[in-house]
Symmetry: C2
Subunit: 563 residues, 2 copies
């Protein structure tokens, strides 16, 4: 079959973007080819917000037939945290038919080489980017994110992370040349001469196990890293967040076909409610790479049991912010209030424990006692979320009943500094929208330890009174070592304390944000520049994105001949 998209066309279209991505992962300066302003959409073939909404609405109640081999039924049943039944049906697969079919196209995909694979990946991302507004709706109505966040995090930011993974994958595969001439002098005798060919070869099939809260943002790095390194990729979405990844698979299959490759290099494995196919899939011999985002318990299970695969996990952690002193009290409170509120704290990067000296902190507005800091932070959150429209736009919806139950239980853990409030959503009356709760705990009381040393995913934070900055750093170290952390924050004007927090983070391998008081938040990372997780503490065994994330997804086979 003649490809509709030739390699040359794709190189013309995408090589400059790849080159810029390669440059940026070295400089780690700001860059993104994916606009994060809604106004940028609607031109150059991309859908605007209305068209994206219309495209999403047209999907509701339909059957998404991906044309996959081994389809033995149809599954669905997603209900939006905003109350809509999606009613989309996806293929259920017979693995014994699908997995062999996914291997059929691997030789051609391997032989295409790293650059051609990168170009196809960038074309997939481009098609997704053009439908960003449609994906925004799909992410919103599966994750419960508010529209603006579903658009940004689920659209351009997720596409950035996918592109970043492609860039790392390409760079890694390009470290060894395709061919080398090797000539070794032998004194007076003729030199030894060999011609050596080096071929990146895939490991097999990569499995992406998606999560409920960030199906695209957390799914794209593994998907594109595996695909760009020559592997086929099977996507197993979270049963409550299938649509964004099913659309992704559909786009990938279309682009692969148009570029002359086998569409079965990318496939979807949706499941029946309660079927739990992840364990079965994860230990299949064909699955050689697994990318997982989700609970610590299942992540640990994968690491222990999926021994035939390279396993990349992002699990859960306990994120800490040390509040020791600040020269911008107002900025600090505003920044923290936003961090605690965004997506109702349902981010793996949301701060949970705010460690505050019981004797209070120094600020540009004078000394503030522990109680004052806690009360002022509560007021800042109240102020930020006082207007219901703004609250809805920031909080989004509670993603599932477990989060709601944890939020309700949190009030029993200690004195409530800020009570959670129910926010009505006029557009989606069934949405469960809640403001965050802040509970006071005492870091010197053994009884309180169980609460603040366990992850409490959702809009729950603990204002933990500590004896001193040193005590705070000790709790931070302990918590990162035992429970892991995706993020650490600290506010201090004391160079000694800053050094001490920094040293704790270096030793425990945690990513640290210092004195953020403006428009950057501890729970946000930017692709091409910030690492998401460190891969060095229990919260995650990999970072997004670095050499280690891609280097073992392929191997290099050398064929040498006498020259």
């Amino acid at each position: 079959m003649a490809a509709e998209l030739t390699a040359h066309q794709l190189i013309d279209r995408h090589r400059p973007t790849l080159d810029q991505a390669l440059e940026t992962i070295r400089t780690r300066a700001y860059w993104s080819p994916h606009p994060e302003h809604p106004k940028a959409y609607g031109e150059n073939g991309s859908l605007d917000a209305a068209a994206g909404k219309a495209a999403f609405d047209a999907l509701l109640g339909t059957r998404l037939d991906l044309g996959q081999p081994g389809t033995d039924g149809w599954v669905g049943g997603e209900v939006s945290p905003y109350g809509i039944e999606l009613g989309v049906e996806y293929p259920h697969v017979d693995l014994d038919v699908l997995l062999p079919a996914m291997k059929a196209g691997q030789r051609a995909w391997r032989d295409a080489g790293a650059e051609a694979r990168a170009m196809v990946c960038l074309e997939i991302l481009k098609r997704i980017a053009d439908r960003t507004m449609e994906f925004a709706q799909a992410v919103m109505h599966t994750s419960g994110q508010a529209f603006m966040m579903a658009f940004q995090a689920g659209g351009p930011h997720a596409q950035d992370r996918g592109l970043e993974a492609v860039a790392y994958a390409y760079a890694e595969q390009s470290r060894t040349p395709d061919v080398a001439e090797w000539t070794k002098p032998q004194g007076k005798r003729d030199p030894l001469a060999l011609t050596k060919q080096f071929t990146p070869v895939p490991r097999g099939i990569g499995l992406v196990i998606g999560c409920n809260t960030f199906p695209t943002w957390n799914g794209y790095p593994g998907l594109f890293a595996s695909l760009a390194t020559g592997n086929a990729v099977l996507v197993k979405p979270h049963p409550r967040a299938v649509l964004p990844l099913a659309l992704t698979v559909q786009v990938a299959r279309d682009v692969l076909t148009e570029a002359g490759f086998d569409p079965n290099l990318v496939a979807l494995a949706a499941e029946r409610p309660g079927e739990g196919i992840a364990k079965t899939l994860a230990t299949r011999p064909e699955i050689r790479i697994i990318d997982y985002t989700g609970s610590t318990s299942f992540g640990d299970w994968l690491e222990a049991n999926a021994r035939q695969a390279q396993v990349f996990t992002e699990k859960a952690g306990v994120n800490t912010v040390i509040v020791e002193s600040t020269d911008d009290y107002k900025g600090m409170l505003a920044n923290l209030a936003f961090s605690l509120s965004l997506y109702s704290g349902q981010m793996c990067t949301t701060p949970q424990n705010l460690l505050i000296p019981r004797d209070g902190i120094r600020t540009d507005q004078g000394a503030k006692s522990y109680d004052e800091v806690t009360a002022d932070l509560a007021r800042a959150v109240d102020g930020l979320l006082g207007d219901d429209a703004r609250a809805n736009a920031l909080l989004g919806a509670i993603v599932n009943p477990d989060v709601k139950a944890r939020l309700e239980a949190a009030t029993g853990l200690g004195e409530v500094a800020l009570a959670s409030r129910e926010v009505a959503n006029p557009e989606f009356p069934d949405a469960v929208v809640r403001t965050p709760v802040i509970v006071k705990l005492d870091g010197a009381k053994p009884d309180d330890e169980a609460a603040y040393t366990s992850e409490c995913f959702g809009p729950v934070s603990f204002a933990v009174a500590v004896d001193s900055a040193a005590h705070a750093v000790e709790l931070l170290r302990h918590s990162v070592r035992e429970k892991g952390a995706m993020t650490v924050g600290a506010y201090t004007t004391d160079p000694e304390v800053e050094r001490s927090v920094q040293e704790a983070c270096l030793e425990e391998a945690a990513q640290l944000s210092l004195n953020l008081t403006g428009g950057v938040y501890v729970n946000q990372t930017a692709a091409f520049s910030d690492f998401h997780g460190s891969g060095g503490n229990p919260a995650a065994n990999a970072a997004l994105c670095d050499g280690a994330f891609v280097a073992n997804r392929f191997r290099v086979v050398e064929v040498r001949r006498q020259a």
Copy 2:
């Protein structure tokens, strides 16, 4: 303490070498800074052969006190395969004292940065290189390698592999800048601006578990990769091959001290006979990286049980050469004869199974039947080893009684095409020197399958009659997939057969040498250019050396602040 060796001195001395290594791992052309001609030694501070021998002799019967904390006794007992009792004593360690002491210097080592660490590693390698002739004796009298091989493989080639690992480690750590300024436009508002610091941080302590046959060659990559990425390194040598690695540790400790670092960043863990400390060590929480060369069973155990560590293993495989046709029959026989003879076949890369069509092969000297090929190869080995002096120089000594027992048992497995012969060593009368055995087996007989599908480490090869080239490729695939292979060779003039062998190697991730008839052998790989193993089949989970070998030995911690 003021360092005797300043960073500037070390950069002046070694940066050009590092740069050349960095360049060569990209081009994969021939290069080595370590001469492999004995004549090159004795100048510029290096020991010549006689001085190296004298230095080695002076070590015999002494106690090698490394000044390590936690020394609770002395162990030794190495007996050379050439019959000499080495009588060297090494410190036995109390791990509960030594391991904490090894962590004490890690902060300064981390803060020194990637370049300074690389420079210290290169200084260690330089000191070792100057004592190459002493190390040659130590390797010879622990591995049983003949002198020339002990010198080359244990000296310059091992140093090359160490330097290669340092280069990869440096390149990997340098992919992210130390500091980045990140400025994100915000339309009409002020841009967001952050200053980001990136620090490579070590995982902890790396454990190197050495092997009997190539203590330095197989030990240096892991040792230097871990050290260069900021980790401390504990070296657990094979009880029969302690001296080369103990000397290495001694040099490393000296250089670290002179450069102002804690010598305990590198330490030795020698053991009492039968103590078996590797299992204890491998599961200690302080050990976060393990490099292992040895048996498949213990390698598999490590991969399954040392879950707190990154585990890099080189285990055992079954190496195959397909003999289908050749346009240089004489060259092929000579090349194969050398490969089978070198170090009595005690290399993880030595061919074991020679797959030969039962209907014979096409050659430049006409058609040759299976029996003729087998007999001609036997004659070629006989010719190569006919002279006892030459035989001793090529074969070395049998490393241990297990290898001798396997050699003796091999004659019972099938018709013997070439019998093993005992070679007297006039210099070392106690050395066990044996020429290789070649046994004929039938690839169509299920009874023979058990023999040729199991690794038979030592001077034993099987001439396996196969039905066709296709049958040979099928056996090759099966054997690589099930048992792994460090090397694959093939002789063919048929482009179709060549493609088919090549495809099998690409799919099963095995390193292939085609039609070698000159002075390069299937069992040899050159640092900076050839990969040793692929990391993609059961023989080894890592390749020497690539990005994956170094990328996960450290993590990058980011500290970001508002600019």
